[in-house]
Amino acid sequence: MDCHADLAHATEFPHPEKPGAPQCASCHAEPVERYAEGVHARALRTKPGGPAATCTDCHGAHDILSSKDRVSRTYHLTLPRTCGRCHGDAETIRRGGIAIGNVAALFEDSIHGQALAKSGLVVAPNCGSCHGYHDIRRANDPKSPVFHANVPATCGRCHEGIRNEYDTSVHAQAVRSGQGTGAVCSDCHTAHAIKAADVPTWRLDVIKECGTCHDESIRTYRDGFHGQASALGFVRVATCADCHGAHGILAQSDHRSRVHPANLVTTCGHCHPRANRSFVQFDPHADPEDRERSRAVFYTARLMKLLLAAVFTFFGIHTVLWFPRSLRERRKSQARSDGRPTAD
């Protein structure tokens, strides 16, 4: 009756009428207050009767167990399945207008999901580790742990070493400057479908993640040998991170940067042991459209295009004129061999 206050004065048990909503707040004031600030409560306020989780959807009703209990719905290893009852259900996703879609499936296949479900690691994060538990907020809420600028700190709670390295990078600098343009962990690794970084497919997949912001660089990379070979699935070829580094990417002007002119022999030398000062004059981002950056390539490409245009224009005309004449010749010689008189 602490939960169903409306039953306090009931005389007849079992109570014939369905009781009202339970009053969890009468004991659990603090979690309920936080819940009220979260995305689920907000959805219920804006869309009453809509599909948004309340206390019982996650915790159960009469069978509520402590989250430390290994058969509880909110046990660390079980929580993704509990969240997935809604976030992995097509109908709920549709009715609730959940833009990100089936995140439960994405998470299940991710390295974190596998660590929980397959390896049973309680140190691996579940949904709540990143999103919080009761006051789950939208990613565009600055108070949310998954708000863009807060992501490095959130991931860094476990991945502290990576975070330390990331904090020195140009990306972290841009995030700190408040411009909101610097990449954070999830921009490259994705939020839910995070994959192990030491598998070949990841090496190739991450290229396009870099390319979502660095569109000029990805264009010139794809036009070069490294980018072509990796597009065909070749793994033993330089991708973005092999030259620029991954977490601690520095500006080229920084003398500690791997792509600072003074460090190129070492960087290229990882794959090309014979690399010397001359070798590193090769530009992996040469741009045939950019006369300032790639003068020799610019003029070479122009010259080759001119050559192609000249050859195909000449032989295009040559062929188009020759074809009807050749057709007439064939008919003539056929007529001759048939013994008929020819027209000319």
Partner: protein
């Protein structure tokens, strides 16, 4: 000796290409097709068909290995051809291959014949009296000759970048990369459209001219297509020396088969190339 001039019901066959010419052209064909098949996927790496083609050939690693294999074959052909040329000029003293009617070297009369050929196309002049090599055949030859030097040279640079960077500044590799791709595009589209049309697919030759495979041309064909050469042969009395038996049926069939495979693969590659260029 029987009369070599054509008699009723009997065709006279003359040798136009000797066995080394045919062998080199065959190896050139094989290596060129191989290089195109293994190179185009890289040139158009972002196309969906490129990935499929590379996988079909055994993945990127095998594709690259085959490309280098065919490249070595083509370089060997090129060197053998150069050696033959030197042998002809210096040992057998055939200076005629350097200038004159039997030479592939472009000469003023090629320009005149080209202009007349254009006039003949539109009915303003009689057909030029071609000799052993017409201007478009010379263009084919020199396009391949220059192409092999350019593609082969830039290809070697890209094959051994560390070695060549010791001799040349690294940006030359950027230039080599652009040249290799563009020249390859030129070669692939030219050979599989213009060369195919000029030598095989144009109505007078359709579906193909087997002379490059059998080495033989009939006296009738020669008189019609290359009257200047015919007259030279007639005058010089070399006709006996050039006369050969007709090509065995087996050789003709092999020629048709090789030609059909080359045309099919070539046209497929041209279509894929044009698709990639037009959809870009």
């Amino acid at each position: 000796m029987e009369d070599p001039r054509p008699t009723e019901g009997q065709e006279v066959h003359l040798l136009r290409f000797d066995r080394y010419d045919r062998l080199l052209h065959g190896l050139l064909m094989a290596s060129f097709l191989g290089l195109s098949l293994t190179g185009l996927p890289l040139l158009f790496a972002e196309e969906r068909w490129a990935l499929r083609m590379a996988r079909l050939l055994g993945g990127y690693g095998v594709t690259g290995l085959l490309h280098r294999f065919f490249a070595s074959l083509l370089i060997a052909c090129f060197l053998f051809h150069l050696a033959r040329l030197l042998h002809k000029v210096y040992v057998r003293k055939q200076r005629g291959i350097l200038w004159g009617p039997d030479s592939l070297v472009p000469q003023p009369r090629d320009v005149v014949q080209m202009l007349q050929h254009f006039r003949w196309f539109v009915g303003l002049a009689p057909r030029p009296r071609f000799d052993r090599f017409s201007y478009w055949e010379k263009f084919d030859y020199w396009a391949v000759f220059w192409g092999m030097a350019i593609i082969g040279g830039s290809g070697l640079l890209l094959w051994f970048p560390g070695l060549f960077a010791r001799l040349l500044p690294g940006w030359v590799l950027n230039v080599a990369f652009v040249v290799h791709g563009e020249e390859a595009l030129l070669a692939v589209v030219f050979i599989f459209t213009v060369h195919f049309f000029n030598c095989h697919l144009r109505p007078e030759k359709f579906p193909m001219d087997t002379v490059m495979f059998t080495g033989r041309v009939t006296l009738d064909e020669l008189r019609h297509e290359r009257p200047a050469e015919y007259e030279r042969i007639e005058r010089s009395g070399r006709i006996h020396a050039l006369r050969v038996l007709p090509a065995p049926a087996r050789l003709r069939r092999a020629g048709y088969l090789l030609g059909a495979i080359a045309v099919a693969l070539g046209l497929l590659m041209v279509m894929l190339t044009l698709y990639a260029l037009l959809s870009a």
